[in-house]
Symmetry: C4
Subunit: 218 residues, 4 copies
Amino acid sequence: MVQPTAYIPTSEFSVIAAELAATAKALHARGWLLGTSGNLSAVVQRDPFLLAMSPSGVDKGELSAEQILLVDADARVVDARSKPSDETLLHLEIVKQRQAGAVLHTHSVWNTILSDLFADGGGLTIEGYEMLKGLAGVKTHEHREWLPIIENSQHMPALATTISAVLTQHPNTHGFLLRKHGMYSWGANLREARRHIEILEFLIETVGRTLELDRSRL
Amino acid sequence: MVQPTAYIPTSEFSVIAAELAATAKALHARGWLLGTSGNLSAVVQRDPFLLAMSPSGVDKGELSAEQILLVDADARVVDARSKPSDETLLHLEIVKQRQAGAVLHTHSVWNTILSDLFADGGGLTIEGYEMLKGLAGVKTHEHREWLPIIENSQHMPALATTISAVLTQHPNTHGFLLRKHGMYSWGANLREARRHIEILEFLIETVGRTLELDRSRL
Amino acid sequence: MVQPTAYIPTSEFSVIAAELAATAKALHARGWLLGTSGNLSAVVQRDPFLLAMSPSGVDKGELSAEQILLVDADARVVDARSKPSDETLLHLEIVKQRQAGAVLHTHSVWNTILSDLFADGGGLTIEGYEMLKGLAGVKTHEHREWLPIIENSQHMPALATTISAVLTQHPNTHGFLLRKHGMYSWGANLREARRHIEILEFLIETVGRTLELDRSRL
Amino acid sequence: MVQPTAYIPTSEFSVIAAELAATAKALHARGWLLGTSGNLSAVVQRDPFLLAMSPSGVDKGELSAEQILLVDADARVVDARSKPSDETLLHLEIVKQRQAGAVLHTHSVWNTILSDLFADGGGLTIEGYEMLKGLAGVKTHEHREWLPIIENSQHMPALATTISAVLTQHPNTHGFLLRKHGMYSWGANLREARRHIEILEFLIETVGRTLELDRSRL
């Protein structure tokens, strides 16, 4: 078995780790990372590949920069301080498929509800909102965003394969939902990933509350 | 082509820029400026005319005073640091039409929902609430506020023209909605503009939740 | 005309003013004092009577201790810095009727909605909740709290007279609603008044959301 | 009558008291401990048994570490500064039954609503959510959590007996509801108890809002 890449912490990693911790705190404050739910990552370098990743089982409201782990392309922890999130494989798959610089995974009340309500249709269409323009590459509100919904699973390699297929099939999506689980989004960097999360969470809540007022749209 | 007005930053501009940044942070915390949505402006001086304006594509939760731009009456940036919001033309139109000292544009979940739900009627009536007394010039709760809804567009000059016509037609409105987009409000100064935003957002949420409880009012 | 009581600011007034400002900030953060809505008061001394009162037209999110006014039993400002809230007469009436040490008036979305929805019945019954035990004098959840609803008016002396009659008729209520306006509650001191506000706002939201789920209770 | 255990405050107690106060502040900010509602405890030592317990009738938003009390296994206050919460007996019962290191009791709007809505069925099933994996011992989202609902009572010894019976009957539950009152959850330590509270509150709100959208599930 190949040894994990030897790693000497760089100042770049320190900056990224601090930004991930600050992002976790802000998203926890909004109720999108309650308990130990959700996880966050950002690419530190591409060659050799290193990903800064939130650890498993840590409360996101008190995640510190010191707790952020480094994993390589095979999801092995570079320094053996603790276990990375079980969902590291999913982050790596998204980074590979989308050339993403950061991946965020949130559990909000509204994304959980809609991930179940629209599961039979395989996803959710969000269309015609100005807010969509904040998603990378979208230039007009006359945009139709398809948010795929994937059945939840505890088998991470299988789930990574499914996600890979869905991302290939829908090359323009900016996120996806796992059924009764949560949302994934990503971006070229952490700032863009967070922007995408805020936008998609906003739109999901808007769609959900619109349905409460006008069920004929369901 | 006339050159933009030469500008030496004044202490007044610094104060206004800091207030705009603080306002952005507070409105972002309430979820009314998520992602890069929304924008803010305040008049620095009337002659020659200079407007402090939020830049394009910046996350409002971390907007700093240093990022606030200065634009002239023709929407040209006075110092060339970055691009102002695409919607600068709309701010300028509102400032001109209403003699406003500040303009705020928010994207809240509730204003987005109602901007679509009431679009066919061309607007939304809000009537009989004490909260209306916080709007400039309103002396009693027995007031009928008409909040016009304008179809969204990416063509800013055309949208500015439509807004100008709507404001002329409804000289007493304190704000308007863009369909599936967001709300604009304004005031004699930034403090009044923010007060109007808080009041209108409150009333829009109140109307929306009342409809959930009593759909016969829809 | 009798001159207002001469007043030299005491350290007690400074403490009360600071507490009122901190309370305003906290209630504004919850969205219960948006814009310039709502007002707050606390008794400084009973003989001669002096009430610390929030000024008129000030944004509650940025109310400072220095802006708190002192008024006498006839609602005259003791020092002439600015105008007290128009609703000072209502605070004075409540202080007199209930021997209250502090009065708080909030505008929340939920109290505004229910103040209209239940207006025809003259009030709202809240019954059987453990949370009721936080109201002064209530020893069990098997308590039936009647929250009277009074028609809104801009004529303060008339409204004060109506409130006086309602409080006399319902000697055990801990608050009341003004229709499409907001809620008043009070307590022996500011701490108790704030506790009552938190409890009544919680219960009003609970009743409102229960109705959304189960309209047969309406 | 046996005298309460003599107690000299330890640094461990100081740490636990500070953590309880910080937890109270955070849960109050989310609206889960409004007014004086709710209470918190954590085991300081098992032999002789000492429990750090929040006092009775204190506003949880301003609870300080200095106000935290120490009680023994018979709910007697070790140092006589003030009265512990009336519900101390319930905390002690849970600690004994579950070998818990900390117990938290919250009053949220959603737990209050569902504690009444599902009372006739004796409890609430929460099933299939990824969020459930944050509960101690749950390894997959394919988990069925039963949240018992117990009728509220002011008679604490009787209520403690009922709770004891319910916990014995349902050895795997991570919390329970008191009807129209609130929720109890616990954990091996304060961090785990707080994680459980965040998770259960999240899931209760998710179930409640799902019912609003799809009443056929009620």
